[in-house]
């Protein structure tokens, strides 16, 4: 007996490379059939619930591998329930949260506690990175082994680069031993100290202190030497520059276990957006040059950049209502992740399959979690969306409590209709 039958859908399965009309049957939260064409009459009849998708895209739920949770520590900005519900509304069925909470997630008991709380919330699944260093201080290695045992999917140091090469080497050795990826925010902090935006003619004209683009690739290049020494899995997070893409491309050609992600601002916008000093455009890493933006798109298209993540963070309005320099970097992302990524499809820079691969299969495989595959036996984490449905980004309408976006007023295409986690509906647009 099938619990749920979704048919007449445009089935998009990056795992099998399928983009065709098809159907999916779900029983006990698990995909029991996923094929092209229409199901036979008997199966239709046997289904407790049958949904005609009307040709909308049915794909694996999104796996957002870079989200900053404000819970614990700043629940007034966005608590875990709001975050996981909002993610579901954005078609995201798994969120991977960074350790930058208060207190920092650098202890196995924090992983346990947050994971347990997430199971009580009917929204996206929650996965966690453990902090690579105690208190994200970049000095002492946190208890990675115990956090891994508690379920940490990888280790990250938030938006603070591990600057000490010896600490980084040992972290890579240790992560390699645990077979977990180390996720690095790539920024030479010494070189970017005090910076307010990307270093360029624009920063000079605006009188803002610039962060050179090279500060990103310099860390990646150093880290690649350490990866060669340790053989560990290394993930460069939210890369934003051409030099970084080039470095990652060379590392992949060399056969190193290196992966990378980027976020929509880095393929949608460039540094010129900063010209009005609008702090919604203050991000970390900063918006880069047009050439960098083009390189990011090329990187996504040719597979150098594996994944696209939202880089979602709930920023306090007061922290943004500041002059550009002191304003806090970061913006909301989970409401817009799918539509902004689909803009690359509409502009014919990447295929629909590649887009969904970047949003589900790639992050899932980097982190060894389920997702990204519409195959029998997989958990029924699904998203149904109209790829062409148009809407205008209005932060006031966001499901998320985080209402600061650099895309305010932008017309986009692609809207989530429903999402399911483990076969249970977690979002349906009314």
């Amino acid at each position: 007996m099938t619990d749920l039958l979704l048919h007449n859908a445009r089935l998009i399965d990056p795992a099998r490379g399928i983009d065709a009309t098809g159907h999916i049957a779900v029983t006990d939260g698990v995909i029991t059939a996923a094929g092209t064409g229409e199901p036979d009459k008997a199966s239709m009849k046997a289904a407790a619930q049958s949904v005609d998708c009307g040709g909308a895209c049915l794909a694996p739920g999104l796996v957002d591998m870079r989200v900053q949770t404000s819970d614990p520590g700043a629940e007034h900005l966005e608590d875990l329930a709001t975050l996981l519900h909002a993610a579901a509304a954005g078609g995201i069925t798994s969120i991977v949260a960074l350790p930058d909470a208060k207190p920092v997630i650098d202890d196995a008991s924090m992983i346990d506690s947050l994971s347990l709380r997430a199971t009580r919330i009917d929204g996206a699944r929650l996965f966690l990175y453990g902090a690579a260093t105690t208190g994200l201080q970049g000095k002492a290695m946190a208890e990675l082994g115990m956090m891994a045992e508690a379920g940490a999917v990888g280790f990250a140091n938030g938006t603070r680069t591990i600057m000490d090469s010896l600490v980084m080497r040992r972290l890579l050795s240790y992560c390699g031993m645990l077979d977990k990826p180390l996720v690095q925010h790539c920024e030479d902090h010494a070189l970017t100290a005090g910076s307010e935006m990307n270093e360029s003619e624009t920063s000079t004209r605006l009188g803002l202190i610039g962060a050179p683009a090279a500060a990103e690739a310099m860390i990646i290049d150093r880290d690649l030497h350490l990866v060669r020494m340790t053989g560990a899995r290394y993930h460069a997070a939210h890369i934003s520059t051409r030099d970084a893409v080039d470095s990652i491309r060379r590392a992949k050609d060399e056969g190193l276990a290196v992966t990378a992600d980027t976020a929509p601002p880095y393929f949608m916008l460039n540094e010129l957006s900063v010209s009005t000093y609008d702090t919604a455009f203050k991000l970390a890493p900063p918006l880069r040059s047009e050439d960098d933006r083009e390189a990011i798109i090329e990187g996504i298209a040719d597979g150098t950049i594996d994944a696209i993540a939202s880089d979602h963070i709930a920023v306090d309005g007061d922290a943004k209502a500041q002059p550009f320099g002191p304003a806090q970097p970061g913006a909301s992302g989970i409401d817009t992740l799918l539509a902004l990524t689909l803009s690359l499809v509409h502009r014919e820079r990447i295929s629909m399959l590649r887009a969904m691969e970047c949003l589900s299969l790639a992050p899932a495989s980097i982190l060894d979690i389920d997702g990204g595959a519409l195959i029998e036996g997989a958990a029924a984490d699904l998203v149904l969306f109209d790829p062409s449905a148009s809407w205008v980004v209005r932060a006031a309408d966001f499901a998320s409590n985080s209402r600061i976006t650099p895309f305010e007023g932008l017309p986009v295409q692609g809207r989530v209709r429903s999402s399911w986690v483990g076969g249970m509906p977690v979002f349906t647009r009314s």
Binding site: A140, M141, E143, L144, G145, L166, R170, M177
Partner: protein, 345 residues
Amino acid sequence: MPPAYKLNSMTKQSDSGSRNTATLATTPAPPARLASKHLLGIEGLNPLEINALIDRGDMFADLIQEEQPITPPLSEVLKGRTVLNLFFENSTRTRVSFELAAKNLSGSVLNINVAGSSVKKGETLLDTATTLNAMHPHILVVRHNCSGAAQLLSQHVDAAVINAGDGRHEHPTQALLDALTIKRRVGRIEGLKIAICGDIANSRVARSNIHLLSTLGAEIRLVCPATLLPDAVDAMGVEIHTNLEQGIEGVDIVMMLRLQTERMEGTETPSQREYFNMFGLDRRKLMRAAPNALIMHPGPMNRGVEIDSATADDVEKSLIRTQVEIGVAARMACLEALATKEGAA
């Protein structure tokens, strides 16, 4: 790496734990003879020399364990000779063990308390060596926190030098006493599966034991966190594991090492709690070793860090106290070998 040559004919074969008088009644092992004037490390000793030291130590151990008096001529090997214990690092068991060994052989022993000596006043190692040399000691037992310090001293003194531990390099008498302890309990070294577990990077005991045990034909596995694994250590002919339970699967001997926090800079392992959780030996993890597996530790132990008390104090399985006892015998063999070498006797 296989041993350079086989030694079956040289080693006493005994598979039962209860040997003792029977073997003693046969020909007692002669004093060991070494090619070198000094004992600076296991690396460089050939299997004949190693076995000679072990066999001679075995004879001394019989005497000590049976509480027999050590009589002439054995008791006079070091008569009229000065053994200088020069310890630049704190030590209780090794220093006392050498002192006892020397006294059993009638040597006069001088302990230099380096902490309160001219070294504190800024004297260099070589100046100290020159000064001590002028006092004409016969044997210098040296421990120093720098690798290579014993060798440096040996080049500047007339005495025979025994390395009692130099930095992360070697601790030859510890390896000899470990081998002797194993041999007395199991009857052989060859073919045994031995896991050396813990802080390999900072351990001179590990290096000496790797050289010695693999030379005698044991199969060595190293078990440690990836961060405590020295570069290219597999070139020493060992199998490497980063998981304790997998690493000790089916082994005959589990040799634990002390987490040498004094030699660490603080980021090799996250915490003692995590270290114990992943690399500490307890009864549950020990189940993976061979049923009659034995536990060793060069001491001093960090209980609850690399080993839990129940395991360390298990009289059936733990050889830790025996190691200390055997240490004196092994060092008597070493002192005797160097005294004989010196030729003044």
